[in-house]
Symmetry: C2
Subunit: 234 residues, 2 copies
DNA sequence: ATTTATTTGTGATAAATGTTACATTTAAGG
DNA sequence: CCTTAAATGTAACATTTATCACAAATAAAT
């Protein structure tokens, strides 16, 4: 197996397949689902939903990026996933009939489609294939979060950063062939890899000096994918 | 809200409700499900299933404890959940139609009920309530793993240990009123909180010297729950 | 019961990461 | 465009945690 394939396989272990919604539906079913969505938009920094809030529905991201994060103890925020175009989100709390266990904020101006809780639960009963897709997807997500725990708990900051840079680049470029680099606030990147902002800055600088990445203000470009990947296998 | 209630609420954020199987079923449905299980037992240290193995069915723990762990990079093993009596496990890989993403090993001699993949998928179609229970449960598990990420990535070893001691004690004593303490290998506890064995040992010694716990060989007893809980809120 | 293997404890040292405080750069608003 | 606020960079220092090497204790096997 080539290095590229190895990398792709690794990255898939950190990616929800949250764009499952239309998989396996007939054309008429797709239209039925689409009819239940309504457009909604969020300014950069605003929240799609809040921790402890009551779930109102689900969101399908049409454009933009959103971070899901939570804070269990103290004020420290942990980002545990970054959603991109095509991803469906907001269904966990809704389905488990709990309050939101996490909050979700737009990283950039964002457009989405919204479906109310009632409509979502209705369509789930109406189209059984959807329910099975959801089960498959939730099961996959379990693996992704377990992998995330494993990476964050067992590896140094260097390795965590190397991995998440690769993950983010692939996520950011999901539907855009032109590689625009990874544009993200330092604090967010730190909250994602479980580091302080200062410490992340130093590690990032190291990477730059080693020619692994280039940095222009907020945007990080990966120059040497192979190099980052090799860090993971040492 | 009292401290005890606060603690209970916190602990519930780290507990799968994997004993959902019979919830909401009629008596005849329960019997139908039970008929499809067959007894199986595992010696301490043996594996219920292996990472990368092909899923064969699901397990319901009748007695004993099991750890679910994985190793993404290198040889470091991360335990991300410890299952106890009453828990159902092994359905994630089966449902997402992937290979096992993790391995599961008995921490002590263990007895379980086993249901084959075919029977599990069959009963899921036969009893729709089961499918919905599964969705609810998977959604809840998502929150638990997100909380685990947050704790492990954002807190010091002391705090991680304090929390997991409280979690483990509650898990170990789920169905046993007499508090037998937490019997666990140091290496396993270290793999659970994301620390080295030596480092864990030192932190544990500190806890002992502060009167928070007592240690008799492999078994840890919590002496001051309040004290451990307060560590989390500083 | 005695030997052997495994697990655990300990101490010295090095490495990684966090903390604090402030300078500098970049973005946002009028 | 200018002003102010927010984000980022930097450096010295403290703290936490890992690593290594080995002793002690416990568990397993004969």
């Amino acid at each position: 197996m080539s290095h590229i394939e190895d990398l792709q396989e690794l990255l898939s272990k950190f990616d929800f397949k949250s764009n499952f919604l239309y998989e396996g539906l007939t054309d008429s079913q797709k239209i039925r689902v689409q009819e239940l969505f309504e457009p909604i938009s969020f300014k950069k920094g605003s929240k799609l939903f809040y921790e402890d809030g009551i779930p109102t529905g689900v969101f399908l991201i049409e454009s933009g990026l959103a971070k899901k994060s939570k804070s269990i103890i103290g004020e420290k925020e942990q980002i545990f996933y970054i959603y991109a175009q095509g991803d469906l989100l907001g269904y966990h709390a809704l389905l488990s009939d709990e309050r939101y266990q996490d909050s979700c904020a737009a990283l950039v101006d964002l457009t989405a489609s919204f479906m109310s809780k009632d409509n979502f639960l209705m369509i789930l009963e109406e189209i059984p294939a959807l329910k099975m897709s959801l089960i498959i997807n939730l099961s996959h997500e379990f693996g992704v979060l377990a992998n995330t725990i494993s990476i964050l708990a067992q590896n140094s900051q260097n390795i965590r950063l190397a991995l998440f840079l690769l993950v983010l680049e692939s996520r950011y470029n999901r539907y855009s062939p032109n590689n625009d680099g990874i544009s993200i606030a330092r604090q967010d990147l730190a909250d994602l890899i479980g580091a302080t902002r200062e410490s992340l800055g130093r590690t990032l600088k190291e990477f730059k000096e080693e020619g692994l990445v280039s940095i222009k203000s907020k945007t990080i470009h990966i120059l040497n994918h192979q190099g980052l990947y090799q860090m993971l296998n040492t």
